[in-house]
C-alpha cells in the first residue's frame, strides 16, 4: 500500500473514505456542504488496495448529521466515515443502508404519483429486506434494489 498521501490531512472534521470511483461529486451534492465557505478536499480515482480505485472526501470542520450519513450510504454503501480531531481519527464506522430514505431520490416508476410535479409530496422509501438491500416506494409500492438508488438521486 502506498503511504504517500494524495490529499492533505484535515485538522477537525470528517473524512469519507472508500467511495466508489467517480461518485464523490454525487455525495458532495447531497451533503449540506457550503461550497463557498467550507474547506473541502476531494480525491477522485485514487489507488485503493481494497477497491482498486476509490474517491475520498475530506471536509474541514464538519460533523455529518444522521441523515447525511444515510445519504452517503445510498451513494456509497461501502463507504467508511472517519471523525477527525486534532489530525487523529477519533471514530470510524462503516455506513449502513438506512431504514427509510425520504426526499433524496426520485421513484423509478414514471407513473408514481410522486413524479407528478403538481403534487406536494416528498418521496419515501422503506427498507424492505437486507442482503441485498431492497427498498419499497411507500406510494406506488414498487421495489427498488439499493444499488439503483445512486442513479435516482434528484
Amino acid at each position: 500500500m502506498s503511504k504517500e498521501l494524495k490529499v492533505k490531512k484535515i485538522r477537525n472534521g470528517t473524512v469519507i473514505d472508500h467511495i466508489p470511483p467517480g461518485r464523490a461529486m454525487d455525495i458532495i451534492k447531497i451533503l449540506n456542504v457550503n461550497m463557498e465557505e467550507d474547506t473541502v478536499l476531494i480525491a477522485v480515482n485514487v489507488d485503493s488496495s481494497k477497491m482498486g480505485k476509490k474517491d475520498i472526501i475530506k471536509i474541514e470542520g464538519k460533523l455529518l448529521e444522521r441523515d447525511e450519513v444515510d445519504k452517503v450510504a445510498i451513494v456509497a454503501p461501502e463507504a467508511t466515515v472517519n471523525i477527525i480531531k486534532d489530525y487523529e481519527v477519533v471514530k470510524k464506522f462503516k455506513v449502513k443502508p438506512p431504514e427509510t430514505v425520504e426526499g433524496v431520490i426520485k421513484c423509478p416508476n414514471p407513473n408514481c404519483i410522486t413524479n407528478d410535479e403538481r403534487e406536494p409530496v416528498r418521496t419515501r422509501f422503506v427498507l424492505e429486506s437486507d442482503d441485498p438491500p431492497v427498498y419499497r416506494c411507500e406510494y406506488c409500492e414498487r421495489l427498488v434494489e439499493a444499488d439503483r438508488l445512486p442513479d435516482l438521486i434528484r
Binding site: D116, E119, C140
Partner: protein, 301 residues
C-alpha cells in the same frame, strides 16, 4: 379502521374482521338498513370503472347513506387544473368518506395524507385495489368455508394483473396451496413468487388441464391491455388461454369453484356460465357485501 389504501396495511386479523362483518351484511343486503343515515360517500373517479363505482354506491345506499360523485370528464378536467392534494382537501368537506380511483400509482396514499375523512382506494394505476382482494377472499371463504389447505389455481396474466399479486399473497398468508398457471410471458414476478414460496406450497405451470383435476378454486383473470407497457407484448399474448366447457367437464372436480373479477373478454367461454362450477356472477354480489362491511367498519366502527 380508517383509510383503506393497500392490502399490505391489513394484518390477518384485520382481514378476518372484514370477512366477519361481511357475513353479517348478507342479511342487510337483502333487507336494507339505515345505519349510515346522514352519512355521505363521495366517489372520486379520475379513471373509469363503472362497476367498482356502482358497487360502492350500491353498498352505501343499502346502508341508508347518501352518495355524491365526481367522475369521468368532470374529474378529468379538475385533474388538469388542480392537483389531487387540493381536490381532496376540498372534497373532504362535502362528505364523510372518499372512494378514489386514480390512474397514478400511489395516488390513494397521497390522498389519505391530505384527507381528514377516510379514503378508500378503488384502484391506483397498476398498484393496489384492496377491496377487490377482500371480496375475492370473502367469495372463496363463502364458497368453501375456509382458505387453509384449499388448492387454489390462479390463471392468466400473473405478471401485470394488479389484484393477482395481492390475492396470492393473502392466500399464502392464510395457508392455501397455490397453483400459478400462465403463459411463459405472463409468469408472476420473481419477487412475488419468492415471497409466497416462503409461506405456501406453490406450483407453476403453463397447462391448466394438468392441474385442473386437483383444484378446489380456479381464479381466472383477463389480460388488460392498459397494464402492458409494450403494445407488441400485448398482441403476442392476448387470447393465449381460454377455459372451455369441455375442459371443465373433462378435467374438473364437480365442486370446483370458478371465479373471475369481471369483466370477462374471452378467457372463459360463455357456455361455461351454465355449469354449476361457474360462480363469477355471484362474486359481484359479494363485492357489494364486502364494501358494505368496510363502510360500516369505517363509519360506525
Amino acid at each position: 379502521m380508517f383509510h383503506v389504501i393497500s392490502i399490505r396495511d391489513f394484518s390477518r386479523d384485520d382481514i378476518e374482521r372484514v370477512l366477519e362483518r361481511a357475513r353479517e351484511m348478507e342479511e342487510v343486503y337483502e333487507t336494507g338498513d339505515d345505519r349510515l343515515e346522514g352519512k355521505i360517500l363521495c366517489t372520486l373517479f379520475f379513471a373509469p370503472s363503472t362497476r367498482t363505482r356502482l358497487s360502492f354506491e350500491s353498498a352505501m345506499l343499502r346502508l341508508g347513506g347518501d352518495v355524491i360523485s365526481m367522475v369521468g370528464k368532470e374529474a378529468a378536467s379538475t385533474a388538469k387544473g388542480e392537483n389531487l392534494a387540493d381536490t381532496v382537501r376540498t372534497v373532504q368537506h362535502y362528505c364523510d368518506v372518499i372512494v378514489l380511483r386514480h390512474p397514478k400509482e400511489g395516488a390513494a396514499r397521497l390522498a389519505a395524507e391530505y384527507s381528514s375523512v377516510p379514503v378508500i382506494n378503488a384502484g391506483d394505476g397498476a398498484n393496489q385495489h384492496p377491496t377487490q382482494t377482500l371480496l375475492d377472499l370473502y367469495t372463496i371463504v363463502k364458497e368453501k368455508g375456509r382458505i387453509e389447505g384449499l388448492r387454489v389455481g390462479v390463471l392468466g396474466d400473473l405478471k401485470y394483473a394488479r389484484t393477482v399479486h395481492s390475492l396470492v399473497q393473502a392466500l399464502a398468508e392464510f395457508g392455501a396451496r397455490i397453483y400459478l398457471i400462465s403463459p411463459p410471458e405472463l409468469r408472476i414476478p420473481e419477487h412475488v413468487r419468492v415471497d409466497i414460496e416462503g409461506k405456501a406450497e406453490v406450483t407453476e405451470t403453463e397447462d391448466v388441464t394438468e392441474v385442473l383435476p386437483e383444484l378446489d378454486v380456479l381464479y381466472v383473470t383477463r389480460i388488460q391491455r392498459e397494464m402492458f407497457p409494450d403494445p407488441e407484448e400485448f398482441e403476442k399474448v392476448k387470447g393465449s388461454y381460454k377455459i372451455t366447457r369441455r375442459m371443465i367437464e373433462e378435467y374438473a372436480d364437480d365442486d370446483l369453484v370458478i371465479l373471475h373479477p369481471l369483466p370477462r373478454v374471452d378467457e372463459i367461454e360463455p357456455d361455461v356460465d351454465e355449469l354449476p362450477q361457474a360462480r363469477y356472477f355471484d362474486q359481484v354480489r359479494n363485492g357489494v357485501v364486502v364494501r358494505m362491511a368496510l363502510l360500516d367498519l369505517i363509519l360506525n366502527g
